[in-house]
Amino acid sequence: MIEPLLEIKNLSVSLKKRDNISVAVDDLSLNLYPGEILGLVGESGAGKSMTGSAILGLIESPLYISAGTISLQGRSIIEAPENIRGSQISMIFQDPLVSLNPLKTIGEQLIKTIKTHFNISKAEALDRSKKLLSDVGIDPERIEAYPHTFSGGMRQRVVIALALAPEPSVIIADEPTTALDVSVQAQILNLLKQLCTERGTSIILITHDMGVISETTDRVAVLYSGRLVEIGKTSDVLQRPQHPYTAGLVASTPNIDPSSFDKKLFQIPGAMPDIDDVPDGCAFHPRCEHARDKCQKHRPPLFDARVSCWLSEKPGGTL
């Protein structure tokens, strides 16, 4: 039984407003294992970015962690996230334009990052930087260049190199390819996969794009209204979804299929509820065609370590 690298147990992130408290992430538990790419998928407002921020300790007032624990290699990291953020857990964000300091060359930024975490000479740091650049597919001779001289895709590679510099065990990538062209996106996703296999770094890939999940991740967790609704091996979850929401998401994702022209896309009726308006019981029940009485009153637990739905209550429950 492999020990999980990162363990999130019953995590809740709440938002304190004037006269009430809303919950952005609600009792979320999941594990990240060494050497895997875990996808966190959900629509806007589902809480996936919030979860990523919580792991990195980037939650700021009026948001706060109201319950639960996050541990890296057995040690809790909620109290002092600055110790591990940037060194054992690093991050990649969506917009490479604002992730890089426009006033410093990429070499300077890489060397500074390396020297912050390792006690080595500047010459050695320079060597490591060049190697990192070639690992991510950038010509090491461009180490003296400024970020604005790179294209969007190349900048994102630089950001990945910076994320790799401290030799972290986990990288959290929040929509890393959403702002990039399709062809560049494919390259970046391949790069992430390659780095995971070669270095054994685990990656949490946060996205709303089911296609990206399908092509890049080993396992996937589906979030809805701040709750985990389904988690499992990517091929399993996408091809045999057990939660009606996952099934709906998969069905409404258009595929390159010319025969679909005359047909309408499957659509899930309604919309994900506002953070203040989450219904009692299962958050998805107002939109679910299989909803029963029980679904309206009680929130389903995670069955089988796979799905959070009353329909799966019987052992081996399927749709």
């Binding site: 062809s183 794009d209 089911m210 399908s214 092509e215 996408l238 390159i256 309408k264 659509q267 919309a271």
Partner: protein, 271 residues
């Protein structure tokens, strides 16, 4: 005669530094060919999709078809009229504007945040003089909202009270208000979540059937295009490199760039 004919459409942008700077530093003029001799036709009631990455020129073509930007050379002819025609009388120009509307990518920037929904949708009706009586205008606004799946309760609200998908519906209602014949959809669902995207695309399909609308559909997403288009044009750096029906394009792509796009697109591998 096709409803829309785009003929040798070309657009150049002069990105050179000012004359004085060039004289001192000796730099040459820099001209960007954003759109290079593009030809295509759209039949009435059909959807033509333009697919390409950033810098392909698809937005520039959309603006020229919409009459917002004049071509450097070549022409866009809609129902036998041309925005660029110096001889076009005001009435015909007005009619052309009324027939050509647009739905935009950003649900947040496409509605004036300080205007109520009722006024946003009523504006084209007033501008084109389609309905004079205020009560009738009011009824028409409600009718339009209901056509896109919203309701009478929404007319007094402001855009920020709606979600992204709902705002796109309001944009569509505004486009329909002028009783258009062609709607240019510029990445209308790229900023939306998957389930909302499905709702909006289905809505567009329904409206096309009900009102015999012609669409010019711009997107970077091949999967979305495959479900919407009768004909597809692939743009690379201003040049239309391939044009085919979806069946031909996806099953028998000819150009290397098309093949590359198809290979790179992340797809849900379904059994």
């Amino acid at each position: 005669m096709s409803f829309v004919t785009v003929n040798q459409l070309t657009r150049l942008f002069d990105l050179s530094e000012p004359w004085i700077v060039r004289t001192i530093t000796g730099q040459k003029k820099r001209i960007l060919t954003a759109v290079d001799c593009v030809n295509f036709q759209i039949e009435k009631g059909e959807t033509y999709a333009l697919v390409g990455e950033s810098g392909s020129g698809k937005s520039t073509i959309a603006k020229m078809v919409a009459g917002l930007l004049m071509p450097t050379s070549g022409s866009v002819i809609i129902d036998n009229k041309n925005f660029n025609d110096a001889n076009l009388e005001k009435a015909s120009m007005n009619a052309l504007r009324r027939k050509t509307q647009m739905v935009f990518q950003s649900p947040y920037a496409s509605l004036n945040p300080r205007w109520k929904i009722r006024n946003i949708i009523n504006e084209p009706i007033k501008a084109f003089g389609l309905i004079k009586d205020e009560n009738d205008q009011h009824k028409r606004v409600i009718e339009l909202l209901e056509q896109v799946g919203l309701s009478e309760r929404d007319i007094k609200k402001y855009p920020h009270e709606f979600s992204g998908g709902q705002r796109q519906r309001i944009s569509i209602a505004r486009a329909l208000a002028s009783e258009p014949e062609i709607i240019i959809c510029d990445e209308p669902t790229s900023a939306l979540d998957v389930s909302v995207q499905a709702q909006v695309l289905n809505l567009l399909k329904d409206l096309q059937k009900n009102f015999s609308l012609t669409y010019l559909f711009i997107s970077h997403d091949l999967a979305v295009i495959s479900t919407m288009a009768n004909n597809i044009g692939v743009l690379k750096e201003g040049v239309l490199v391939e044009q085919a029906t979806p069946n031909d394009l996806f099953h028998k792509p000819q150009h290397d760039y098309t093949k590359m796009l198809l290979a790179a697109a992340p797809t849900l591998q379904n059994n």
